[in-house]
């Protein structure tokens, strides 16, 4: 009797496992397929892509799309701009977030509850798009790099994550001991707290940098001069608005249409490449960051 029960229980387990593994495999296929398709299409003969002959692996491998992009000044310009915005923006983000998170993590700071309320309130209510736009305009930031950096200098969610890390992962005793030894708060922050906070700093750099790399909306509203366009705005033009402009003017009309199509795949690849290369190395940190953030502060 009991033997029979255990047999039926294990077959029940097997069915359960089979269902779970099937669903998991399906999910993997659904997520990966579009990505593989884009990679394959970008390396294929444009004519084959246009005929719908490419469905999984590249056909008649060709690098025409990539060589065409290499000669496209707009894309390079956008790339350079995005790198500058990402680097400068992330530095500003980190400095501002640390400057806010550290004092607010200190239990001996009078008035920090009030300050936290002032800060967290902004997560749920704000002025909205139009008043923010007018503010940036009135400050004279329109059409400058700073419009993309200063208004987003702190992400409140990241600030709370960092504060939580300072509170929970750095022993308070250490800070008190430093105080007794006559260490100023600035020195304490720079020489003791920050070296102990490398994991969270790494997470913050990643979060902020990916945000800058991928952002398009702020530049859409604040940047008018094409010379200052970041990569995402150039992509928007190529992918969604006027595709054929990107193609080298020297090729014939028929080829131009063909190339315009395959260039789309190639620009998708090129713009996502830095993040996808970085991904395997930093993936653990991202997860960690989300998990630290999930601790209710």
């Amino acid at each position: 009797m009991s033997n029979q029960a255990s047999i039926s229980r294990s077959s029940d387990e097997k069915i359960f496992d089979a269902v779970i593994y099937t669903i998991a495999t399906l999910i993997i296929l659904i997520v990966l397929y579009p990505l593989i398709f884009v990679v394959s299409a970008s390396f294929s003969d444009p004519a084959k892509v246009l005929n719908g002959e490419v469905w999984l692996l590249p056909k008649n491998i060709s690098f025409d799309a990539y060589t065409n992009i290499l000669h496209n000044g707009k894309i390079w310009n956008g790339y350079t701009n995005t790198i500058i915005y990402t680097v400068v923006g992330t530095i500003v983000n980190i400095i501002m977030t640390v400057l806010a998170a550290y004092p607010l993590s200190r239990p001996d700071l009078p008035g920090r509850k009030v300050l936290m309320v002032i800060i967290t309130l902004t997560m749920f209510f704000g002025g909205g798009l139009i008043p923010s736009y007018l503010l940036v305009k009135n400050l004279g930031l329109l059409d400058t790099m700073w419009a993309l950096i200063i208004p987003g200098a702190i992400a409140t969610y990241n600030l709370i994550v960092m504060r939580t890390y300072f509170q929970t992962s750095i022993p308070w005793e250490l800070q008190e001991a430093a105080h007794i030894d006559g260490c100023s708060n600035w020195r304490l922050l720079l020489n003791i707290i920050l070296p102990l906070s490398k994991p969270i700093l790494a997470v913050m750099v990643l979060f902020y940098a990916v945000g800058h790399w991928n952002s398009y909306f702020n530049s859409l509203i604040y940047i008018r001069n094409e010379a200052r366009y970041p990569l995402q705005l150039v992509l928007r033009e190529i992918l969604l608005i006027s595709q054929s402009e990107a193609v080298d003017a020297n090729v014939g009309l028929e080829n131009k249409v063909l190339l315009a199509e395959s260039i789309k795949y190639a620009v998708i690849m090129i713009s996502s490449l830095p993040i996808l290369i970085m991904y395997p190395f930093v993936q653990r940190h991202f997860v960690k960051g989300v998990m630290i953030g999930s601790i209710k502060g």
Binding site: A24, G52, P107, T122, G127, L134, N185, L239, S272, S294
Partner: protein
């Protein structure tokens, strides 16, 4: 030991009302901390509270030459004009429908994914599943919409090739209003389910393993263990995530909608926030669209307060 005592003493002394001088002395002693906070707090006041102050233009006829203070008051005129306009119901319905369907479909899927990851016994396979489902989260919206364009293209896209191979006729997915919401929500799920599941996976790893052992002893099947142990174990996290999502109910996915919008699908893709962008920023109707934006935020805030109160009553979990 000694230091914790010092801390509690300090905490106690702060609560004694007769010792204001002590707080003051402590503030002076910690003045360098305030110095650190100077820039961030100034930034919050300018870039978050500044726009809140600027919101008054929703009740004025904003004139750039006169500035925010100098412009004349018009009361609720802009709101009335919006409520009476012919596109009001279309905007409201699209905004509500897209967000409601997202919440109903996308929200449970990330929980389901976390439960699946948790049930996979092979550590390697479950890591592979997790890592692959994270990838799309890091691709920019512009690229995602670009991928949608080429993938769903009626002439070259693989989806339509498949439909044609099966004897159907190609569908212009992105140019038909009827397909817009499905594609928008579907691609959102594709992009974000993995990322959103992280928090539930973390919560699941914190469920006491003894509970599973006990249930196994009692003869509970795997499905029953998921239902009676895993799911209840992450309910508090689910409630918090739900409250946060509903707090942003009216503005999910606006940047992506803007990119996917075209004249042929506008009927079902026009939402309040895209309307604010096109009419406000592009056409310069600042006061009118500030009012519309305020209406949008007000609904968000009311929803957040309601859901938070409801959650506190029902599940004893809430944001505050």
């Amino acid at each position: 030991m000694k230091s914790t005592q010092v801390r509690t003493n300090a905490a106690l002394s702060r609560k004694i009302p007769g010792q204001r001088g002590r707080v003051w002395r402590q503030m002076v002693k910690r003045s360098d901390l305030y110095l650190m906070l100077l820039l961030p707090i100034a930034w919050y006041l300018i870039f978050h509270y500044g726009p809140m102050y600027g919101l008054q233009i929703a009740f004025k006829n904003f004139n750039p030459a006169k500035g925010i203070i100098g412009s004349s008051w018009v009361g609720f005129d802009h709101f009335v004009r919006f409520f009476e306009s012919f596109y009001f119901w279309r905007l409201l319905w699209n905004t509500l429908a897209i967000n409601l369907f997202s919440l109903l479909i996308a929200f449970p899927i990330s929980i389901l994914l976390a439960l699946i990851v948790n049930e996979i016994r092979s550590k390697t396979f479950s890591k592979i599943l997790q890592n692959i489902t994270f990838i799309p989260h890091f691709i920019s919206v512009v690229v995602i919409v670009g991928i949608l364009n080429v993938f769903l293209s009626p002439t070259t896209g693989p989806i339509n090739s498949l439909i044609e191979a099966l004897g159907g006729s190609p569908i212009r997915f992105l140019e038909e209003a009827g397909w817009f919401k499905t594609i928008f929500i579907g691609s959102n799920i594709w992009q974000n389910m993995g990322w959103q599941s992280i928090i539930y996976i973390a919560a699941l790893s914190g469920v006491n393993p003894q509970l599973y052992e006990a249930a196994k002893m009692d003869g509970a099947s795997r499905l029953r263990r998921v239902w009676h142990i895993s799911l209840p174990g992450i309910i508090p996290v689910i409630v918090i995530m739900l409250i946060l999502d509903i707090g942003h109910f009216m503005d999910i996915g606006f940047e992506k909608i803007l990119l996917m919008q075209n004249n042929l699908n506008i009927e079902s893709s026009d939402v309040i926030s895209t309307f604010v962008y096109t009419t406000g920023i592009l056409k310069g109707e600042y006061s009118y669209t500030a009012a519309i934006g305020l209406f949008n935020s007000a609904i968000n805030l009311v929803l957040l307060l309601l859901v938070n109160r409801f959650a506190r009553k029902v599940s004893e979990t809430s944001l505050w």
